[in-house]
Symmetry: C2
DNA sequence: TATTGTTATACTCTATAACTATA
DNA sequence: TATAGTTATAGAGTATAACAATA
């Protein structure tokens, strides 16, 4: 069945993102991680002791939804919550979390490399700038957190 | 907080798609339609009397998930299920569905126009081919329906 | 007064398994 | 034997409201 929607950039964007998420998800099942788990691990590994709120602000995940996500990572022994003061908690990687992060970085880097290789060479360098414009250009229309 | 993931095409793809879906969803609340509802309406309007299964194959929606979606459109008086034989049902637009489709087409066309205008001119023509390559290039990795 | 972490809750999307009836 | 429609169910993701404690 020919798809009359195939010429619409918004539709192609959704289909491409869905396919990408499904494939990355499959590559992470071996690590018992969801895509959002891996994203948080990478962010925590790159940043110094962020709070859950700051992670959520960066990744566009609501505070309330960070709780079960971090509970899961903590239960897996990958992160710990360390008091900053009597109100805030710093999210830090455990040694097991550091080891896991190294594996995750490898999986993600290989995946991103394969992704970009699927794009015909003449379009390749345009993808990230175009996606960035769509992402950040949607600001006014996006609901605030 | 600087986002160390911002340079990854896969991450940018997800963020762009999420922002796009949220914005299109907002534009469709006035029509009391979800994005997937609008997508099905457009597809049915372009194709002659498809079955639910064929719609699902085209849009990558499982048969089982088509049922409540079509129930909703039928309850809203926008589509009808007409017997093809004693096993299959053709999905057709009602007169109200045709009217609604005209409005939806206008909303979607305006949105797609704005989307593409947000992309800097030098990258604009590369977006759709790049997304198509990512979408269709994921085939082998995608789970079959 | 604003922010952090949290609980509870609900809605959407998506996925699987299984059943009936029919091609 | 394969396909169409359906039911039931479960897992994710995401959203809001509200609360206590603290900055």
């Amino acid at each position: 069945m020919t798809d009359p929607l195939a010429g619409l950039p918004g539709y192609a964007l959704r289909r491409a993102a869905n396919a990408m998420m499904a494939e990355l998800g499959e590559r992470l099942v071996g690590e018992s991680l969801r895509v959002s788990d891996a994203t948080v691990l990478i962010l925590v590994g790159a940043k110094g002791r962020p709070t859950a709120s700051r992670i959520g602000q960066t990744l566009d995940i609501r505070r309330a939804n960070m709780v079960p996500l971090l509970d899961r990572l903590e239960a897996a022994g990958l992160i710990a919550r360390e008091p900053i003061d009597r109100k805030s908690l710093a999210i830090v990687l455990t040694p097991a979390g550091e080891t896991k992060l190294r594996r995750v970085r490898g999986i993600v880097a290989a995946f991103e490399r394969e992704l970009i290789e699927r794009v015909p060479a003449e379009h390749r360098d345009h993808l990230l700038p175009a996606l960035d414009a769509l992402w950040r250009g949607a600001e006014g229309a996006q609901s605030a957190q």
